[in-house]
Symmetry: C2
Subunit: 132 residues, 2 copies
């Protein structure tokens, strides 16, 4: 496979509700995480839901970081997709420390493509159906 990047898929729980419901704290944690991860921020959206929950997406030169919190469950989901340079695990360590999650499950996924020869349309269609 031609690998273009590494994607950390993180589920974290047993985190304090107040930290998961604080958009400004999450904004600061993300900026610190991006710095620690040696990544370059292009755009940052932080959104507070009512009655609770925060979503933040950081568009990076390296790809993206996204975080979604469920304070009522003490849970957050984080994705850190870095292509090229950068240290996604260091970035994740900052997020975990800032949000004080006691349990973390991290899955590391290689992103990229198979270097195949051209295939017929019929094969493409069947590939698509395989994954539906």
């Amino acid at each position: 496979m031609k690998q273009v990047g590494t994607h950390l898929v993180v589920d974290a729980w047993e985190a304090p509700q107040d930290l998961l419901n604080d958009p400004e704290g999450i904004r600061r944690a993300l900026i610190d995480a991006i710095s620690a991860g040696e990544a370059t921020l292009i755009d940052l959206c932080v959104h507070q839901f009512s009655p609770h929950g925060v979503t933040a997406t950081a568009t990076l030169a390296e790809s993206h970081i996204a975080i979604h919190t469920w304070p009522e469950h003490g849970y957050f989901a984080a994705d850190l997709f870095f292509c090229g340079s950068g240290q996604p695990k260091l970035a994740m360590k900052i997020l975990q420390t800032a949000l004080k999650a006691k349990q973390v499950r991290m899955r590391e996924i290689d992103r990229g493509f198979e270097e195949t020869t051209r295939v017929e349309e019929s094969m493409v269609e069947s590939l698509y159906h395989m994954v539906r």
Copy 2:
């Protein structure tokens, strides 16, 4: 596991370079995909890299969609994370059609957390080290 959402991790290739390097086309495809997926857009960032490549992140009420393109490889990576309602596979179908990828690998990941009892700090630390 307490599931909070479904995450489609998609790698797609054999797509035309010009479509992968067209930020306005990708913006339209994303808006169409969000509509087809019955999702609600909060914020959309579309960024063109030099000399080529486009990154777009859509912050959704349901979580997020991100897409990163490598026109020089005919490749794009897409993530569609939907919690609660919505149809992420329909959204992905729109993206694939718009960008004319002939090969698609889709991995479907359940996102959520284990409903465990509280654990000791030492155990948390060892869990973290397991995944480094």
